[in-house]
Amino acid sequence: MPDKIEQLRPHSPGGEKRGNTSWTQCPACDGWLHTTTDLLNRGTIKLHCPHCAGDFLPKDAKRIVMA
């Protein structure tokens, strides 16, 4: 995992509607892809960027915004 995961708040105190999708930014092309948190948490499976077809481990992602 990259050193800094941007973790979205788990709960909404006021019950506001909030999304449930986690996004990862490709280190090669800056494109964003959405993944399950399970896939990110495994850490050992290379992600595949649908924009540039590059493969990379979650730890090498440019950014991860985790829902």
Partner: protein, 470 residues
Amino acid sequence: MDLRTFLNDEARHVWRPEGPVPLVQGITALQQELDARGQYPVIRIDRPLQADGQVNPMPVVCNLTASRPLTARALGVPDHRNFARVYSTKTGVPIPPQIVKRSEAPVQEVVQRGADANLLALPILTQHVMDPGPYLTAAHATTYEPDTGVDNTAIQRCWVKGPRRMSYYPYPTSHNIRNLRKFWAKGEPCPVVFWIGHHPKVLMGSQAKLAYPESHWAATGGLMGEPLRLVPSVTFGDKIMVPADAEIVIEGVCPPNLFEVDGPFGEYTGYMGPQVAAPVCEITAITRRKDAIYHDYGSGHADMLVPDNMVMEGKVYGMVKPVSSTLQRVHVPVSGRRFHAYLEFREPPLGEVRDALAVCLGYRRLKAVIAVDSDVDIFSDSAMMWALATRVQWERDAIVINGLSGSLMDPSLARGARTVEKIGIDATLAPSEIPGAPKPVPPRNTVTPEALKAAKALLEGINPADWPTL
């Protein structure tokens, strides 16, 4: 009975574009545009154009079951509105399959084993923007439970990554993933076969929702009205049978706990499903007819939603009818993807509609169920909205239950939630309270049958092409 039987029977509903059509989004774009126009011909592409500019010699068929009336007719149901009852009845009277010799199995006319097997030779579609590559979408995955030998079949997607390698994504609650995990717990690879292309009776019969472990072959025979012809697979012999009259069979193994990424993939919800960890399948053999036709389901389009939803209608009918005898018809509308069901009742006694709603909410796929009287057309979304607008007081007529199993692909799920909130809505009119007296509700606006007949006659033959549409 096979795919060719159906294509011949419905030849006048098959559209065959003359020129080459790209496998990468071109065919899917046709389906998207036809869906938008409300037109649902079967599409046969005789010249599928590969990404490398070459025409693949194998034809592609899609939109096979995009039309409700056509699909119902293929299954021997003249009026699609009665499909749920017929499907539930026929699949409930199983007919055991018939085992045939390899020499009698068209699907094994060509056998390619080991290095001769090449997935990349098939005309496999890449359907949507962000799909990472070509996907099998009409592959019926058959595995078996290792302790009992009982087989299971489900349509599950595969991302083709190489000549003999693909990711295979059985949904986390599916019976096939249970079988995979049982093999893996023994330290063994899980055998799996994927069969593609058959008559709609076989495609939809094999999707009957059954207990675990329970084979789908006999339920398929029930829908066919005759035994399904099976043949031993070339890799696994009689441990996994395959339909002898299918077009293509892909055989392989999923090594224990070997995962790769799969997706994003354009899903039935109309959204791109996320990238996930999925088992790897290593291909051992491909068998096919000499002149095989490749079948594809347009994911998230009527092509896939219509047959899937019609099978759900049969399941819902079979669940509800024993507790609510006044149930008439069921519709799982394409507009609701797989999440909505409409139920039609005729003069239900007090309590029976809510009994039915409670039963339906236990069905994992459903998220909202609406019950109406038989004067409301459950095959019209507009009529259903009218019933909701005029026959419902929300707190009195809605049953809301949280914490039920449901689809994790629902974009509206609460962050981190593993369960779903569901609603059942009683949109029937209040019943009569005094025998012989009218229901204590107002009558509908209407005109006499004679006036309506005269109006239709007046409009007969008029061309409204230049009339305002809004």
